[in-house]
Amino acid sequence: MTMVQLVYRFVSDREFANRFQQNPQAALAEAGLSLNELELQAATTVLQQRSYCTHLSSPEKITPLEMAWPRPFCPYKMPSTVSPR
């Protein structure tokens, strides 16, 4: 659940988000959170992409990701030959 706590703190506390982006290890220690190496690497890779912060303030703008992560890869859904329009 540490990752859940980290992400929620990241999206609800702009100051913490800034500190995490500058120094992930220090921000985690300050929040009393501990991640293993794989989790830390994944969290750092994703959370340091600031573009997410702008999407988060306008959820409807995130819809282009539907095209970036298209439906044809659905499990149980035979990949379609037609991409979602």
Binding site: V4, V7, Q41, A42, L56
Partner: protein, 329 residues
């Protein structure tokens, strides 16, 4: 090389030949056969130049790709690849009925009962194909398919019976349904190509994490309606990964707000939008993007444990990168 292998066309050919060449094949009701071929052909006979297709073809060719990856010839795995695809299609049809989504789809039989009967026929057809695999290898492959199918059904049972699963339960369901199915494809292909147990284990890990990545992608894209499909938020009583995350992460007051929006989303577009906004603002997509990154790293680490021809490694890692690239492009 798998580039010339056309997985769905091959599955349709295998299926047709199986029925046609059977001693009693002439007694089969032609209408039923035509219905099954129509369902299969709906996905397999068109061509589309979009780049995503190359990854779809690779995804559909996983057993053949993994067979070739360990030095086998594609012909060693083509029949099993076809059986796996028939199971894939059957699982898809069953899922549509179980999730009450069948009515959204064009070109499917009108009645859920007919869809269930088509799915059942596909499962038996896949088993007939697997029965053609000979010796100890054939026995091992059949056992693997049967047990994996059982695990997936258990995962689906949990999915159907737990209206509000916790986040941890959602991850377990994702692994049981999707992770196991793609792990099966990779294991079977590697085994048919003559892989040693450590290699089979590595392919199992690759397929398992790939399957979970696919489930993440499905659940995230399910936050929005795609053409001809309803979004997951208006399928009342169904919690997917983003919802389970939001209900875990948010304080009580936000949870109640989300619950209320979800309850009304089926009838009220504004409530659907509100539910989506609350979920995204809770960081659900961001959280799942991080989890996708983790699973993609684990996929690539599994590939690093196998000595692979560069072209095949590129195809296997390309699938991972594309599926995991949510929102980055």
């Amino acid at each position: 090389m798998a580039s010339s292998f056309l997985p769905l066309q091959n599955a349709i050919h295998c299926f047709s030949s199986l029925i046609r060449d059977h001693p009693h094949g002439a007694n089969i009701d032609f209408e039923y056969l035509a219905e099954i071929l129509r369902i299969l052909g709906r996905d397999g006979l068109n061509t589309d130049p979009e780049p995503v297709l190359s990854q779809n073809e690779a995804l559909r060719s996983l057993p053949v790709l993994c067979c070739e990856a360990v030095g086998g010839h594609s012909s060693q795995a083509e029949r099993v690849n076809s059986a796996w695809l028939l199971f894939y299609k059957a699982a898809h049809l069953l899922d549509l009925v179980e999730d009450s989504e069948a009515e959204d789809r064009e070109l499917l039989p009108a009645q859920p009962a007919q869809i269930l009967n088509a799915a059942t026929g596909l499962i038996f057809a896949a088993n007939m194909l697997l029965n053609l695999e000979e010796g100890d290898m054939g026995k091992a492959i059949r056992e693997d398919f049967s047990f994996t199918g059982w695990q997936m059904c258990a995962g689906q049972h949990a999915d159907l019976t737990q209206a509000a699963p916790g986040l941890q339960q959602c991850w377990q369901i994702a692994e049981a349904k999707s992770g196991e199915f793609f792990a099966l494809a990779c294991r079977a292909g590697a085994r048919l190509g003559g892989a040693a147990p450590p290699q089979i284990e590595a392919f199992d890990g690759y397929g398992r994490h790939l399957g979970i990545l696919i489930q993440i992608a499905d659940d995230v894209s399910g936050l929005w309606s795609a053409t001809g499909e309803r979004c997951d938020l208006i399928r009342k009583g169904k919690w997917t990964l983003p919802v389970a995350y939001a209900m875990t992460a948010c304080p009580d007051e936000k949870q109640r707000e989300l619950q209320q929006a979800l309850q009304q989303a089926a009838k009220d577009t504004e409530a659907e939008r509100q539910a989506r906004r609350l979920i995204i603002e809770s960081g659900a997509v961001l959280y799942l993007r991080i989890e996708a990154e983790k699973h993609s790293q684990q996929c690539l680490a599994a590939l690093d444990r196998i000595d692979l021809p560069s072209a095949i490694r590129e195809r296997l890692s390309g699938m991972v990168t594309e599926i995991a690239s949510l929102g980055q492009s």
